[in-house]
């Protein structure tokens, strides 16, 4: 098992800086999720950890050993790709065993390792098939199995669920969480989906434009965002950003989550008209257009009868709002 340390890691493609200095410590056995919008550099960072991209400056250490110049195969890592990346000419069994075979492990030992991984993921009936004969979900399970067989120090996942349909995604997500508990391995997981990040992670690293915006446990990020970027990125529907001045508050922006805005037909702090209502059964999202703050979202539990064009009043719940300065940094206390 292994820990990962990134110190002042940067990456440039020509004159374009993609990663602008990342410091990060991932503990042994931790499930760490890199999350951020597309183009924030999360996949590049993962590839640098894997050794598929060179590090422009800074150090990557696995278990304290500097691996900047170590080829991917010798870093004792395993990677699961978004497009599965199974070898089309090999059976499931050979796909899973290839890495160990390449490393010169005895045939019997390879067989045992494949059997163990396949039992874990219930892949036994598929072992003799080719990847072309598998469904998307099965392929991704084989790809995960291929990673497990190697017993790596680090598991790297590059958006492994993005190609699966919604139901399979939930199922595989639970599967990955279970594997993490059973293997107790260090996992680095890249996704743009904040639900995956929130449900899987011990710790989330939010990346924005090549820099770490905030690192913390899921609930830390949710309850205590350091800046407007993290506040807006974590949580769905997105946090509302109001003009703090208009509400008599300090700073530039007041952030309040949709579930912490109270809605009333009679009276409240901010007046507006309903522009759209989403009924999801378990919850109702009401979109309210206001003169001063623009479009605000209110999330209500259960079913509520609101109609478009109705005039309503909104009030931020006391103690639930966050204040940010002009640069988007949180004002505390």
């Amino acid at each position: 098992m292994g820990a990962l340390t990134l110190s002042a890691v940067t990456k440039s493609f020509g004159s374009v800086d993609v990663i602008k200095g990342v410091d990060l410590e991932v503990q042994d056995g931790e499930f760490c999720v890199f999350v951020g919008p597309s183009g924030c550099g999360k996949s590049t960072l993962l590839r640098m950890i894997a050794g598929l991209e060179d590090v422009t400056a800074g150090d990557v250490r696995i278990d304290g050993v500097r691996v900047n110049l170590t080829p991917p195969a010798q870093r004792e890592i395993a990677m699961v790709f978004q497009s599965y990346a199974l070898y089309p000419h090999l059976s499931v069994r050979d796909n899973m065993g290839l890495a160990l075979k390449q490393a010169g492990v005895a045939r019997a030992e390879v067989g045992a390792a494949v059997a163990r991984a396949s039992a874990m993921l219930s892949l036994d009936p598929l072992l003799e098939r080719r990847p072309a004969e598998l469904s998307g979900g099965q392929r991704q399970r084989v790809a995960i199995g291929r990673a497990i067989v190697r017993r790596p120090k680090l598991f790297l996942f590059d958006e492994p669920l993005s190609n699966l349909d919604a139901a399979l995604r939930v199922h595989t997500r639970i599967e990955i969480a279970r594997l993490h508990r059973e293997l107790n391995a260090t996992m680095i997981y890249v996704t743009h989906d904040q639900v995956e990040a929130m449900t899987l992670a011990d710790r989330i690293v939010v990346l924005n434009a090549g820099r770490i915006a905030q690192v913390g446990a899921p609930m830390e990020l949710y309850n205590d965002p350091a800046n407007t970027f993290v506040a807006g990125f974590i949580g769905s529907p997105q946090m509302n950003f109001l003009k703090a001045g208009a509400l008599g508050q300090r700073g530039e922006t007041l952030g309040i989550r949709p579930e912490h805005l109270q809605i009333s037909r009679e009276a409240g702090q901010i007046g507006g008209t309903i522009s759209h209502v989403e009924h999801l059964g378990g919850e109702t999202n009401v979109y309210v257009h206001t003169e001063v703050h623009g479009l605000l979202t209110v999330r209500l539990l259960g079913e509520h009868r609101f109609a478009v064009a109705e005039t309503v009043w909104l009030t931020p719940e006391a103690g639930r709002s966050f204040l940010f300065d002009a640069a988007g940094v949180r004002i505390r206390g």
Binding site: P71, A73, I77, F81, S83, Y87, R146
Partner: protein, 279 residues
């Protein structure tokens, strides 16, 4: 195919056009074939008539086969074509892989430089090539032809294959790297099988000009032992008298091997396409 998407007149029109083109394309070959089976008199009397009881004559084929060296010419052509093709595909694919896979200084320029050969005919360099071959003592060897044809085929091969190589999933290659496959294994085992249709296309495009070439065999390897089939057929074309029977017979025979090679590659091509379509 769904019935809703077919209409009889349209299908008929499409087929009419295709059939008309096929007839036009095959007509010269057809004329060569039927006349190779006729007597000399019949060839000139009724060039378009099928060989009948009075006109059927195998004299052309007899002349060609009795000439003795003809099998050698065949063999020479086959060796030159197959070996050149193998080199073109191997080196072309390797260069294409390097150009599409690795980021290095001058990558673009190198690609352009390699593609330049498509636009500049290699025959412009004939004199220099001949001088080089003389200096290297390669005149009148099959190796001289193989080298020239490899050079001739590479630009197009690199150009087409590098485009196809770019479509091969980067994840797959990276998975190979993480599993400890060497770049050569990644190239030969993962990438090449996936670009097989493109390889077949390149093979067909490169093969025909090599097999049909008269220019370089005439200049670089005109010796009896290294004559190719196209050069060998010239024996029957005299300045004053031409043995048309023999010319037509040798041309008919020359079609066969190239046809076999073509069928071989086009099967690959079709298999590649369907394999991709079904996923």
């Amino acid at each position: 195919m769904a019935k809703a998407r077919q209409s009889l007149p349209r299908t008929a029109a499409a087929h009419a056009i295709l059939i008309a083109y096929t007839v036009i394309a095959l007509f010269p070959v057809f004329v060569v074939l039927i006349n190779s089976l006729k007597s000399r008199r019949a060839i000139f009397a009724h060039p378009l008539a099928l060989p009948g009881p009075g006109t059927f004559d195998l004299i052309g084929f007899q002349t060609v086969l009795n000439q003795g060296d003809f099998l050698l010419y065949f063999w020479n052509s086959l060796v030159v074509t197959v070996v050149s093709l193998a080199f073109v595909l191997l080196f072309g694919a390797m260069a294409a892989f390097a150009l599409s896979e690795y980021r290095f200084r001058g990558n673009m320029l190198m690609g352009l430089y390699l593609a330049l050969g498509i636009m500049i005919p290699i025959r412009l360099g004939t004199v220099a090539i001949l001088q080089m071959m003389v200096a290297a003592h390669l005149v009148n060897t099959l190796l001289a032809l193989i080298l020239v044809y490899t050079a001739q085929g590479l630009p197009l091969a690199v150009f087409i294959l590098s485009e196809f190589m770019k479509t091969v999933s980067a994840d797959l290659k990276n998975a190979g790297r993480i599993d400890g496959l060497s770049e050569y294994r990644i190239f030969f085992r993962l990438v090449l099988p996936l670009v097989r249709p493109a390889m077949a296309t390149v093979a067909v495009f490169s093969m025909i000009p090599i097999w049909n070439d008269l220019w370089f065999p005439l200049i670089l390897a005109p010796a009896e032992a290294t004559k190719t089939i196209t050069l060998g057929a010239q024996v029957f074309l005299g300045q004053f008298v031409t043995n048309w029977n023999a010319v037509l017979a040798s041309l008919s025979l020359a079609i066969l091997p190239v046809l076999v090679l073509y069928v071989l590659f086009s099967r690959q091509l079709i298999r590649g396409i369907t394999a991709g379509a079904v996923k």
